[in-house]
Structures are given as structure tokens and as C-alpha cells.
Symmetry: C2
């Protein structure tokens, strides 16, 4: 963005006598607010707020990596319904899920290089599939971000209470405090959160890989015992036979491991140049670490016989079995897991506001979401996300198993749409096959994007197409097997959100059409003002306002509503003394109504106004300097103003009488 704003505008202003340019460079005063959220950053600083691969992994990959903390447990919690004997199926299921992960990773790798300016499912779908699929993708991604915050925070708290059982009764409260903390960090800006979080993310990766290494060493040397004193098993419902449906349910739960993988492709613009390269490398590293952790955790958990439980997480059981008890390494590893889960919530805090701003710029969400705050972050989006996620945590009492059925369906819907969009894109690219002459390379201009021929189009299309089919299939499995458990909520919210998008869009479009200057003729000059000034009493404030009213027009009428005779008489006598030559209309109000007689009078005047005439209502308004003083005065002036503003041909002037 740099400081081009200034130069460009100053240049135009220099050439026009009537236009001048001033840069006020206002730096707001310091105080608690700035200390808490950081000093304001100038727009020109925006470019510096980008991150490298190492920090990028910490900021964008924590969501995906942290899902290893609950994915295994969520597979087990379903298999457990068919009895302990079914738990061994978790190992083959995890291999299927890793295969799916590899397919999705390759697909996204192609997206990252095709969309160096950020290729979230929304953008890819919009450019290749059209408006409706794009809005579906946007709705599902926004829901997914909210659920990421709720699930990750809840799982983080579950890890914490596994290590410190005394905190068990305060799960919801702790979860809410954590959301608040992550919110504050994000309102300060992404670079600082990257710096804080990098250390922690790498601590998690090293500690968990270390735990797995020790675990496998003991496993191969025959020294790995079973879980000592396992917690009470969590039962999600009645015991059930081991059907294909049950296995598919367990598989669907396990796909939670893939959530968050799209975060990097949405946030490419946050990376240092060369963006695509850096983001792509980060994606591959992330997928590698994720696969290793997920497979290792699932395998060892099965070997030592962990059970899914609300009292102690699978991770906690695994770590204390590997290290032979709750020693320092146990607390470090479980602590790091807790922290990476809270950081996963942070990923959503990076993604949600960015996507919200994109959709808002296209006019499908309130425009305010696209304005950056004083710290160059989309503050409003951050706050919205925090509020909705907190609500979910309270409703689901911070239980991961309760939230999971709502979670992955949105993720896989957006996966499917982006892969399908990419497949369509390669098909379009194939049409651009170069002519024989090598000089003219045909290009296709597509909404600001330039497509050019790619000789590997077929391979790439097959890869993305296969990805779309796989993820679409998973989404269907999820929707069917999880429908009753809660997926129906998401399937219901999706059209509701879509309708919201369209309503917002229609409003903006409609407004633009009504305000457009195309085919518009400048309105005629206003020749005459009819001034009406309602007063409640005669005092210095009223007389000052009268002077202003008289400066507008010679046609000034003062209105007074007489509710009781005594006060009314006082006003009349004072008026005769202080402004004998100004017209005063006294309105009787037998029902003690104040506003209605004035409104009726003004409306009547507005209806009978001449062409090129406007009715100006001057409202003398008392402005208290002390906040509670406003309780000591009726808010008649404000109410009057609100009602009058909706009357055609009426303009409202507020003349304050401030009393110091």
C-alpha cells in the first residue's frame, strides 16, 4: 500500500483550484487502550506485517497439527460403542485418513501456486464456479472457523484438566478466558502473535515427536506397559454392533485431523515474498508433521490400550504411560498440547477476519468487516468470531465430542468446492492451447486474473478432480452418519447464511442503483427555507437558537405545545416580552402528548411547501456535560429529531445549548 495515497491525491489536488489536500497525520492520544492493544499503525506499515516460513508454520499450521490432539480420541469414542474389541480398527482408519490427507495436500499445493494472492475456497469457487458455489464455500468456511475456535479451545481445556484434575469443574470458564486472551493477542496484530507463538508451536512438535520416539523405542524393546489406572470410559450412547455404518461414523470423526489444512492457502498474502513458494513449502512440512504425529499417536494409543474419556484425554494417557508417570516431561508435553490447541484457535482468528473482509468487499457482508482497525487488523471480524465461538462453548459446555459432529462437514464442503473449481480451471486452461506460431500466446482475462496455457493441465486437472471426488465423498459420509448427532444444524445454517449474504448484497446493490449519478441531473437550487422551531420554554438557550433560525430565513415560526395552562401562560408572556415580532404558534394537547402535535404540524408544513422550498426544523437541544444529567431531562429533542428525519422535505438543525 505504501504512501501512494498521499502522492496520488495531492497530485490531483495540485491541478485543481477548488481541491486542496492536507495530511493531518493525527496520532491519537496514548492511554490504556493503546497500551493494551498496541499503538496505532499507519497504513504505510502494512507491508512489513508479513511472516516467513518458520513463523508461518506456527501461525497457520497449529490448527492442523493440534487436531492430532483429539482426532484419535474421537475415532475411539465411536468405536468404543461396539466394545473394546473394536478399538483396534483405529489404526487402519488412521492410514485411510492419512491417504486422504496426502490427496488434499497435493490439491492445495496446486492452488497455492495458482493463486499467489490467496486462494481460499471462496476465491477459487468464485472465479471458476460462479457466485453461488462461492457463497456456499464462504458460509461453510466461516462456520468452520468458528467451530475451530470452539473445538480447539475445548480440547485445550480437556488437556489442561487431564493434567490438573482440580480444574475439572471450571472447564467452561477457562475456555471463555482463553478465547478472550487469544482475541486480545489478535487485536494487537499478526506479527506479534507470530513471535509469541513460534516458540510454543515448535515446543509442541519437538515434545510430541520426542514422546513418540521414546514410546516406539520402549515398544520395540518390549518395555511399553499398558495404561495404568485408566479413566472411566466415555459412552456417547447405547452399545451398538460393529456395522459398516459405525465404522464410517468413526472414520468421519477421524477426518477432524484434516481440519485446518486449508488455512495456509487462505493466508498466502501474510507470507513474505516469494509468497507461493514459501506457503507451499510450509504446507508440505505441515502435512508431513501432521501425518507422523497422527499415525504415531493412534498406533501407540492402541498398543497401550487407552480409552476415550471425559476425565482424561488420550494424549494424557499416552504421555504418562510412555514416561512412566506424571513427571516433568509429562507436564511439558501435555502443557505444550494444551497451548497448541489454544494457538489453533488463533489460526481461525487469522483466517475468519480475512475471509470476512473479502466477502464484505464483494458486498455480501456488512462493509465494516473490510475496514482495518488501528492495528491494521480487521478488528470487527475478530470480535464477531470471539463472540460466536464463546456462545458455542457455553451451549456445548466445552465438550469436544458434542462439537465434532458440527465441525468437519463445512471443511469438506469447502475442500470439495475449491478442488472442483481448480479442476474446472485446468479445463479452461486446456482451451488456450497455443497456435502453431509461437509468438502469440493466447491468454484469457478472467476477472482480473490472467490464465495462460499449461502443458501439464491434464495431470493437474486429474489431481484436483480426484481430490474433489474424495473430499465430496467424505462430506457425504459425514452428512449421513453425523446427521442426527448435529450435522443437521450446519445443513440448516448453510441456507440461512446464504440468504443473509444475498439480503445484504441486494441492499447494497439497491442502494447503489438509487444513489448512482448515471443519468442524473444536478438537483435544482433551494430558493427558500421555511423554518420551524419547537421550544419547551423561553430562556437563553432558546433565544440563541432563535438567532440562528433567523439567520436561515425570514419565515420563522416557533411552536410551543401547552400541556398545562400555567407553564403555557409563562411561555406566552415571556415570548411577548423577548421576541414580540416572531410568530409563535401554541398547540393545545389535551392528552398531554408532546411530540405528536409538533410532528403533525411539521408534516403539514412539509406537505404544503412550494417547489424549491424546504422545511428546516431548528431543534434547540440541551447537552449535559455530566453523563447522569441527561436522566434529569426528557429526551424529547432527540426523539423529535429521529422522527422528523424520516419526513420528506424536512431537514433538522440541532442548535446545542451547552452549559459549562
Amino acid at each position: 500500500m505504501k504512501d501512494n495515497t498521499d502522492k496520488k491525491l495531492a497530485e490531483i489536488a495540485r491541478q485543481d483550484d477548488h481541491i486542496s489536500y492536507r495530511k493531518l497525520g493525527h496520532i491519537p492520544k496514548r492511554g490504556f487502550w493503546h497500551w493494551f492493544f498496541g499503538r496505532p499503525l499507519a497504513s504505510a506499515d502494512a507491508d512489513h506485517q508479513t511472516i516467513g516460513k518458520a513463523v508461518g508454520l506456527a501461525v497457520f499450521a497449529s490448527d492442523a497439527l493440534s487436531s492430532t490432539a483429539y482426532a484419535t480420541q474421537e475415532i475411539l469414542v465411536i468405536l468404543a460403542l461396539a466394545g473394546m474389541g473394536a478399538l483396534h480398527l483405529s489404526v487402519p482408519l488412521s492410514f485411510v485418513i492419512v491417504a486422504l490427507l496426502i490427496i488434499v495436500t497435493i490439491s492445495y499445493e496446486q492452488i497455492i501456486h495458482a493463486y499467489p494472492n490467496g486462494g481460499g475456497a471462496y476465491i477459487v469457487a468464485r472465479q471458476n464456479l460462479g457466485e453461488w458455489p462461492a457463497l456456499v464455500a464462504a458460509a461453510s468456511l466461516l462456520m468452520d472457523y468458528v467451530l475451530t475456535v470452539a473445538v480447539s479451545t475445548s480440547s485445550g481445556v480437556a488437556q489442561l484438566v487431564s493434567a490438573v484434575p482440580a480444574l475439572l469443574p471450571f472447564q467452561i470458564e477457562i475456555a471463555l478466558v482463553m478465547v478472550a486472551l487469544v482475541t486480545i493477542v489478535n487485536l494487537r496484530g499478526v506479527r506479534e502473535s507470530g513471535a509469541i507463538f513460534s516458540v510454543l508451536a515448535y515446543a509442541f512438535i519437538l515434545l510430541l515427536l520426542g514422546t513418540l520416539a521414546v514410546g516406539f523405542l520402549k515398544y520395540f524393546t518390549g518395555g511399553l506397559p499398558a495404561v495404568i489406572d485408566p479413566p472411566e470410559m466415555e459412552m456417547l450412547g447405547e452399545a451398538a454392533p460393529l456395522t459398516v455404518f459405525l465404522i464410517l461414523r468413526a472414520f468421519a470423526n477421524g477426518t477432524a485431523a484434516l481440519t485446518g489444512i486449508e488455512a495456509i492457502s487462505n493466508g498466502i498474502t501474510a507470507f513474505k515474498q516469494p509468497r507461493s513458494h514459501n506457503a507451499g513449502v510450509t504446507l508440505i512440512w505441515m502435512a508431513g508433521i501432521l501425518s507422523t504425529l497422527f499415525l504415531g499417536i493412534t498406533f501407540l494409543s492402541h498398543e497401550i490400550g487407552t480409552v476415550p474419556s471425559e476425565m482424561e484425554t488420550v494424549i494424557s494417557q499416552l504421555v504418562r504411560t510412555v514416561f512412566g508417570g506424571r513427571d516433568l516431561l509429562y507436564y511439558l508435553a501435555v502443557g505444550a498440547t494444551t497451548i497448541i490447541l489454544f494457538m489453533a484457535a488463533n489460526t481461525a482468528f487469522a483466517g475468519f477476519p480475512r475471509l470476512g473482509a473479502l466477502v464484505a468487499k464483494d458486498g455480501f457482508l456488512p462493509r465494516q468487516l473490510s475496514y482495518r482497525g488501528s492495528r491494521l487488523v480487521y478488528s470487527r471480524g475478530i470480535v464477531v468470531l470471539a463472540l460466536v465461538a464463546s456462545l458455542l462453548i457455553v451451549v456445548f459446555r466445552a465438550r469436544v465430542s458434542g462439537l465434532i459432529p458440527l465441525y468437519a462437514i463445512g471443511v469438506f464442503l469447502s475442500f470439495t468446492l475449491s478442488q472442483a473449481g481448480m479442476a474446472r480451471r485446468w479445463w479452461k486452461v486446456s482451451k488456450l492451447k497455443p497456435a502453431k506460431s509461437k509468438k502469440t500466446k493466447p491468454k484469457l482475462q478472467l476477472e482480473g486474473e490472467v490464465l495462460s496455457f499449461d502443458k501439464y493441465w491434464l495431470v493437474k486437472m486429474v489431481i484436483n478432480g480426484f481430490g474433489a471426488i474424495c473430499t465430496g465423498l467424505v462430506m457425504l459420509i459425514f452428512a449421513v452418519t453425523k446427521f442426527q448427532e448435529g450435522a443437521w444444524v450446519v445443513l440448516l445454517l448453510l441456507p440461512v447464511l446464504m440468504a443473509g449474504f444475498l439480503a445484504v448484497h441486494n441492499h447494497y446493490k439497491d442502494l447503489a442503483r438509487r444513489l448512482t449519478l448515471e443519468g442524473y441531473k444536478n438537483p435544482p437550487a433551494i430558493r427558500r427555507q421555511k423554518v420551524i422551531m419547537p421550544i419547551s420554554g423561553v430562556h437563553r438557550g432558546t433565544l440563541n437558537a432563535l438567532r440562528f433560525a433567523q439567520s436561515l430565513s425570514k419565515d420563522v415560526t416557533v411552536l410551543h405545545v401547552a400541556v398545562d395552562a400555567e407553564a403555557g401562560e409563562k411561555v406566552l408572556l415571556k415570548w411577548q416580552k423577548w421576541a414580540p415580532d416572531v410568530n409563535l404558534v401554541v398547540l393545545g394537547s389535551p392528552y398531554r402528548l408532546l411530540l405528536e402535535p409538533i410532528l403533525r404540524y411539521v408534516k403539514n408544513a412539509a406537505d404544503n411547501r412550494k417547489p424549491n422550498e424546504i422545511v428546516t426544523v431548528v431543534v434547540p437541544e440541551f447537552l449535559p456535560r455530566v453523563w447522569w444529567h441527561s436522566w434529569l431531562h426528557t429526551r424529547a429533542a432527540q426523539l423529535l429529531r429521529m422522527r422528523l428525519l424520516f419526513t420528506d422535505g424536512v431537514v433538522v438543525v440541532e442548535v446545542p445549548y451547552v452549559v459549562d
Copy 2:
């Protein structure tokens, strides 16, 4: 009040060419609101809304009479601390309390005749003792009204659950619903509540007197048994020896029987003419019935061995013992008791808003409290009372024993102040002893009230003086014995309320002084307007507003804050096309602040304005017709308006662009 308003004002208007009088006679449209609260009543109807003796007894005496439903029980609950053997003391204590009642009644009889326009403690204290004692009386009376609602409703619910134990878990909810119902009845107006309530009040009196008659008949014929299956006794604390202090505590609790006796003297204006006579007769009837009920209930309760309990009230135990079980008469009598208690809350709903309006007229409470609503009642006071009383009910979980220690202290403080004021008044009257010539009867003009000599001044002074001493003594006993139990809350709130009264009064006095026209010269005419118009874009709305701005002055400057270059350039180019000859100032804002640059610019212009010049800021404002559309626009215009109104020498004009 009649329709004098119209005639008087119309007369003045007729004689002045510049003043005209119009009576709009606006009757607001009907709908749910009017069906629920009744159609609006014209001011001219006010006089008809008065009541006779029979209805007056129902409306104003239900508070005092209903206190017999809990006074006995509250004596017993303290005596029970010293064991069952101490309960017999309730009978002699009740005689002492009735003696006190007689003294207070005679005192108030004198007040009613001395103050035919309403002689609450506030008015009597204000006219005879001065401002400070009057405010003390007002504060204690207002607190007392709130407590009346809380105590009576809670006791009513206690009667209800005695008869229908299944409702026991819903005491608080029922109490809140009852407060809401009484609120609605009162918002409809006093005459209708009188009509509904009369039948019920007389049913209570007849049923309770009937119960007592049957009870005494059985007692004298030896057929009155002891309470069968008495409920569990309520213990307020540790068992304690029977000390004088304990007896005084029990006595203090019993004085709750006197609460509400002042209601008639506060509400004399609600009576038909001759007011004082009607009100005085009602007072004596009330005192007679109250004494009979209280003595009878206490005596019989003791004879049959009732115990104070949270599960079943003393009244319920008494009635079912007299009638030999829970038969139809039992349900009728307890039902009538329940209802009269809810009606007692209604007394406070008549008194609190009237007193609030009086105090507000004197400028010690917000003026709004003195405005009558569309049904001729002081709606705001009614709503305030309902809210505070509901809060108390929730805090004290609808327990009468918990509320009693806060209750009577305010009542007796106001009793003492009004009796003392009356004593002082008779003293002043004695100074007016007629001269020898019988023709000139000396009079003393006192704040609109005319005092004349009264040859019985000494007797009257002694009566009121004795009343003051007795009630003052009771107040002291109450404050000391109940301090720890909760009276400290009242003693703490009293100065807080007083401080509030004074702060409000100072504000109004200060404002009047600053706005007064005494010694004021008409302000000079405004010669020139400097018009500044901030815009966010160039469209039909802006161009319309520009036309208005140009009709005010030739000195129009348009401001645009450029947050990003692209949008800023668009505005500049459009401006060059559509209003090339109007000055546009572009303000750069590197920190993306919108309001601050504009505020700084306007403030600067206001500071440098010439004499007789004013800065007029024209704010084009988008007014959405659909409520949720306002979420789709920043409220920058409103914020700007709010901030600018506090800048000296600035007037704000809002030009709406309504989009239909």
C-alpha cells in the same frame, strides 16, 4: 384542571398578532397498547378520577389492614428464639402496639384536617421544619413504599403457598408475576383499580372478622382445639434467653402492623369532596378494623398454639384450626388474605408515584416523574417502583422475615417528622392569638398556606407532640434492636438518597441560573455562516445535501477523509465532474481514522471564526427504512454529530437521504 388551559391561552393569543392558538386534539391510534393500558384520558378528565370513602378504604387501607397478616407472625418468630414459653408475650405486646396505633391515628386525623390538599410527612415537614427534614421524610417514605410492595407481595405469596403447598418452590416467580400484574392495573389508572379492589377488600374484612367471630365463639364455648399437625418452626438464629432486648426486638417486629397508616394522609386529593372529612372518616374506620383484627388474630393464635413457620403462615394455621380443616371457608379466608396483601402493594403504587411527583416538582428528583402519562397516572414512578421492588424480592428470595428489619424504620422516621412538624405548626398558630378587636383576625401566610388562630392549639400540639415522642422512641428501638439484622441498610441508604436529591436539585438550580433571562440582553444577530460538509462519497444523497448547504451560505467547504487511495481518487474525479466550483478539502488519514481529522478541521474553523459568524456542519445522513440495514452502514454520521455538538460555535444540520 378542567379545560382552562385552552381558554386562557387562546385569549392571550387572540390579543397578539404574532401568537396563534391551535388545538390539535390528537387522539393516538388504537392498538395493543391502548387495549392493554386503556385509552388515553384528556387532562380535562382529571377531576373525575376521584374516589369516595368506601372505595378509599379499599384503595388506601389495604396496606394497613393487610399487615395483620404478618405482624403477629413476626412477633412470634422473635419470641420463639426464647422458647415456646415466651410466645404468650405476644398478647400484651399487641395491646401496646394498638395503643401506639391509637396515638398515631389521632395525630394523623389532625394532619388530614390541617392539610386538605394532601399532608404527607414530606409536605408537613417541608412547611414546618424546613427543607432538610422534608428530604429525610421523602427519602424514608420512598424507601417505605418500595418495601411495602416487597413485604406485602412476599407475605401474599406465603399465604398462597400455605394453602397450596405444591407452589412452594415457585415463591419468587409468583411474587414477580404479582408485582407485574399490580403494575399493569396501576398504569391503567386509579379509578379502575378501586373498582376491582373494593369487592376484594371487603371480602377480606368480612371473612377475617367472621373467622375471628367463629373462633371466639368456639373459645368461649370451650370448643377451640389446638393446631393439628403444626408446621416446622422457623428459627431466625440461635436460641436466646428472654431478655428485655429480645422483647423489644419482638415489639419492633410487631410495629409492622402500623405500616400503611399514613397512606390516607398522602392521598387526600384522590378523595371526593369534602376531601378532609371523607379521608378522616376513612382513617378512623381503618384504625378500628385494624385494631380488632390484630388483637383478635394475636389472641386466638396464642390460644391455639400456632408456631411461626416458613411452610405455613400463622393466619393459615389459625383459619384451618377455627374451621376444623381445609374446607371451603378456609380457602376463601386465606385466599382473601392473599389478595389483600397483593392489594397492599397497590397502596404503594398509589402513593409512591404521587410523592415522587411532589418531590420532582420541587426539583429534588428528575422532572419526568412529575409528568402524567396518557392514563393520567404518573407512569414513570409506577415503573420505577415496580423495578426496585422486584429487585428486593429477588435479593431476599421473597422471605418476609428477611425484609421486615428494613421495613418499619422508614415508616416511623416519617411518622416522627410529620408529628413534630404538626407540633411546630400549632406552636406557630398560638402566636396568632387574636387581638382584642374581633374584626382583624391575624393570619400568617406560609408558602401559599394560610394559618389562622385555633383556640384548641395547645391540646392539638400536645397530641401531635406526644405522637412524635412515641413514634420517635419506637424508631430508636427499631434502629438499635434491628441494626444488625438489616436496619443498617436503611440507615446507610438514607444519606445516599439525600445526596442524590441535593445533586439533582443543584443541577436544576444551576441550569436555571445559567439560562435565566434576568439581566440578559438579546444575543446579536448572526451575520454569516461558514458551512462545512463532510462526505464519504459522491452520489445523489451528497449532491442533494450540497444544494441545502449552498442555500445556507456561499462559503461552503466539502471535506473528504481519504483512507485509501483508490476510493479517494474516485471521489476527487467525481467531484471535479459534478461540483467543479465547490471547494473540496481532502484530508489524508494514515492511521485510517475517520472522525478525528474532520473533528480537528471543524474545531480549527470554529476557533478562528469571526464575530457574528457561526460554523454550520451539514451532515448528509443515510436513513435506512429497514431496521437491520443500519448494521450495514457505519454510524460515522451519528458519531460525528454527537462529537460536534459539544464544540463551541458549531451547529449541526442533518440532511437525510432516505431511500424508499
